[in-house]
């Protein structure tokens, strides 16, 4: 195996695999990437056994083909620190990988490519296409509400459902829930769904960061695969049943509080300085013409602020974990949002005034 490649090409490829490589792993080979050199193509693969990313780059020249595995972090660091515009020559020398550029000669340990665990992709997956920017938006608006190391393992990910041309993503940690819908560019027959693990969602988000092209997703019973022009990413799905989110969406008669997103967020930031560290509780006293936001803490400090409101219901006092509301507000791009209130002990529904396809449900604190 021997080839030369430009610094830009290989660094771009290596860095897109790094997110999958675990910092601490049980098997030494999982800290390596698999390098596979073919005539006009280098493929680089990383896996953590739950997910796998494979990306390709174009070599400047290939002297001989072959494959090996080398430590991902070291290889990436080395190539990244070489002078810009460098041509890098990489070849196998016994069981060492030699990296040479200019007067620099580096030799890195390898492990046999046969030992690298490969993902079995089941072929019965249903394939559809979606604009990268649309998928990125779906993820970025909802991923904050995923569970994190929750013992209900099915909450530690994003639920994805596609029916015809409608794609719905749902995340929840049981205290709040985010739901966003949009459309795919190619429809599927019937309905498919799955729960994508938290880490994989973060990786997919990164891979889509600059993609406005169409990407292909294929969803099976236990894996999901994302393909962009140069990279493919496969992840196992979380087994288990996602909670019935439709049941959680509050319904019935509600009163609507319309607020300026930025104004509310700024007031909450100030008032919450004096909320308790643990609960971050803030209270809203909502009246037809005015809302009083207040907080206090065990040190008996307190703060309050008022703002003019637009509210059509009965007076209400409701409390929230301020972080939950702030995270929602920070994901709302429109100037105004509507908070639908169903009672001080019932969940509320928050949505941007101009986007009916994005909804957030937040459970209040009981006082």
């Amino acid at each position: 195996m021997k080839f030369t490649v430009s610094k830009t090409e290989i660094v771009k490829a290596l860095s897109s695999t790094l997110g999958v490589v675990e910092k601490r792993q049980a098997l030494p080979i999982l800290s390596n990437v698999l390098l596979k050199v073919e005539d006009n193509n280098i493929s680089i693969t990383a896996t953590d056994l739950e997910s796998e990313v494979q990306t390709t780059c174009t070599p400047a020249s290939v002297e001989s083909t072959g494959s090996t595995t080398a430590p991902a972090k070291k290889l990436n660091e080395l190539c990244r620190l070489l002078p810009d515009g460098s041509e890098i020559s990489i070849f196998l020398n016994g069981d060492k990988l030699s990296v040479e550029s200019g007067s620099g000669k580096y030799s890195i340990s390898t492990l046999p490519s046969e030992d690298f665990p490969v993902f079995d992709v089941v072929s019965e997956n249903t394939e559809f296409t979606i604009l990268g920017s649309v998928l990125r938006n779906l993820i970025s608006k909802t991923s904050f509400a995923m569970g994190n190391q929750d013992w209900r393992h099915y909450l530690n990910g994003m639920y994805l459902n596609i029916e015809d041309k409608n794609i719905t993503v749902v995340t929840t940690d049981a205290h709040r829930l985010a739901i966003s819908t949009n459309s795919t560019t190619k429809s599927v027959s019937g309905e498919i769904s799955g729960i994508i693990p938290r880490k994989s969602i973060n990786e997919i988000g990164k891979l889509l960061s600059d993609s406005s092209e169409e990407v292909t997703l294929s969803l099976g019973s236990n894996t999901i695969m994302l393909k962009t022009d140069s990279t493919s990413f496969v992840s196992k799905l979380i087994e288990g049943k996602f909670p019935n989110y439709e049941q959680v969406l509050p319904s019935g008669e509600s009163s609507v509080l319309s607020v300026n997103t930025k104004q509310l967020s700024e007031i909450l930031s100030r008032v919450s300085v004096l909320s308790s560290d643990k609960f971050k509780g803030i209270k809203l006293n909502i009246k037809s013409n005015e809302v009083l936001v207040s907080a206090n803490n065990p040190e008996q400090e307190e703060g309050e602020e008022r703002f003019k409101s637009n509210y059509d219901g009965e007076d209400m006092e409701i409390a929230f974990n301020v972080n939950y509301i702030q995270e929602v507000l920070s994901n709302i791009d429109s100037n105004d949002c509507n908070i639908n209130l169903y009672g001080s002990d019932k969940s509320c529904l928050i949505s941007p005034s101009d986007d009916p396809d994005l909804k957030y449900v937040v459970m209040p604190l009981l006082i």
Binding site: W151, F279, G281, A319, L365, L366
Partner: protein, 419 residues
């Protein structure tokens, strides 16, 4: 600005003497659960050379022969006596921090101008002595750490008035000089060794150390100590006690338990006890852990296990915790082992003020209504009257306390009679 530390002399031993004046001047020791080790000694027992924590069986024969008196621990009694002492302190000084079962810090600010710290201390000591029978010593200084040192000096110099005020620089320096570093509040064994190696052997030497250096080489905690030794008040009296992070109830058994049923009833006792504590602290917990183990010194058998159960909602209801124990205890129990200790821990606390409800409480919806538990707590306040059926209720006696004194102040039947 003055702070007083009220410290009960040999508290457990003093409690035992309150209703047994005949024991005055006799050596007294109190033993740990199952009569294992010595956990408290009267000054007479200390003078006999009885060490703290020594296993009872090692000293038993010699101690009894020499006329020593021994008691099993009677925590219900000590706890009640402590409450009485603390109530008196609270009624006399508005700002009191109960620091442990036998110590409290009091704010003496203002008394300097009126009757003077020494006289006020004397009054306090006499009042506690007359009303409860518990002898106390009172160390007074400009900071908590110096108050602690004053208290140590009373013990060390055997000051008859049992009150010492450290207010002049000369008195303070003298006291610091004769206080070894290991006796300073907050300096434990390891820190003591490290300080000795740095050539700091007494409190006066530590007080000379530049605080910034101490923070760099040791910790901010020790920096505070240094500043406090120099009369700079860093630690305030915490009259609002900080909320607990966890509640643990565990016991070693005198007679080993093999049977799951028996183990279950015993553990249920601990659960009910912990839940009572939780409610009295006005807290809720959303996690319970149960642990069991065999005797760790037994080389023939060794097994230990711990398992936790998380609730989707914070609770203070005994029934919820018992439900969890019913789920997890059978999972960690292995037959054919002789268990020597079991316990439970409640954690993941939230204040009663706020409860974050879940979106998906299909089975248990948390209600802000705990009237049943409230009624049970009220009925059981003075004497256990209502039990949960799965509790032990004295069916098994895993704890041995053969030499326990009567519960003079907490049980009607144990009231001392005067002939």
């Amino acid at each position: 600005m003055s702070i007083a530390l009220v410290d009960c002399d040999s508290f457990y031993a003093s409690c035992e003497r309150v209703f047994r004046p005949d024991l005055k001047g006799r050596p007294i020791v109190v033993l740990s659960n199952n009569d294992g080790c010595v956990i408290a000694r009267s000054s007479e027992a200390k003078a006999m050379g009885v060490k703290m924590g020594v296993p009872w069986f090692k000293i038993k024969d010699r101690y009894i022969r020499k006329g020593g008196i021994v008691f099993s621990s009677n925590f219900a009694f000590y706890g009640d006596m402590s409450r009485r002492v603390m109530n008196i302190l609270n009624s006399i000084s508005p700002k009191t921090e109960v620091y442990s079962i036998d110590e409290a810090f009091l704010d003496f600010s203002g008394t300097e101008k009126n009757i003077g710290c020494f006289d006020f201390g004397l009054h306090l000591k006499n009042t506690v002595g007359r009303w409860t029978g518990i002898p106390v010593r009172i160390g007074i200084g400009p900071t908590k750490t110096l108050a602690k040192i004053a208290s140590y000096q009373i013990k060390k110099r055997d000051i008859q008035s049992r009150v010492l005020v450290l207010d002049s620089q000369r008195d303070i320096s003298e006291a610091l000089k004769s206080t070894p570093v290991g006796e300073i509040w907050g300096v434990g064994r390891r820190l003591n060794r490290k300080l000795s190696m740095a050539g700091i052997r007494n409190a006066l030497q530590l007080s000379y150390a530049p605080p910034q250096d101490i923070r760099k080489r040791f910790s901010i905690v020790l920096e505070r100590t240094v500043r406090e030794l120099n009369g700079e008040k860093c630690l305030d009296i915490e009259d609002v006690s900080p909320t607990k992070k966890q509640i643990v109830v565990s016991r070693s058994f005198a007679k080993k338990i093999t049977n799951l049923e028996v183990l279950n009833t015993v553990v249920n006792d601990y659960v009910v006890r912990a839940a009572e504590k939780l409610r009295s602290e006005k807290q809720k917990s959303s996690r319970i852990s149960v642990f069991i183990r065999t005797n760790p010194f037994d080389t023939n058998e060794s097994y230990r296990a711990i398992k936790s159960y998380s609730f989707t909602y914070p609770t203070d209801d005994s029934r919820d915790f018992l439900y969890a124990v019913r789920k997890i205890l059978p999972k960690i129990y292995r037959p054919n082992y002789r268990y020597s200790k079991a316990g439970i821990m409640l954690s993941s606390f939230s204040d009663i003020g706020y409860v974050q409800n879940s979106l998906f409480n299909e089975n248990h919806t948390y209600k802000m209504d705990s009237r049943l538990m409230q009624v049970i707590d009220e009925l059981n306040l003075n004497q256990k009257q209502i039990y949960i059926a799965s509790q032990n209720i004295g069916r098994f006696k895993p704890i041995q306390r053969n030499m326990i004194s009567p519960r003079y102040t907490t049980r009607w039947g144990d009231l001392p009679t005067v002939k």
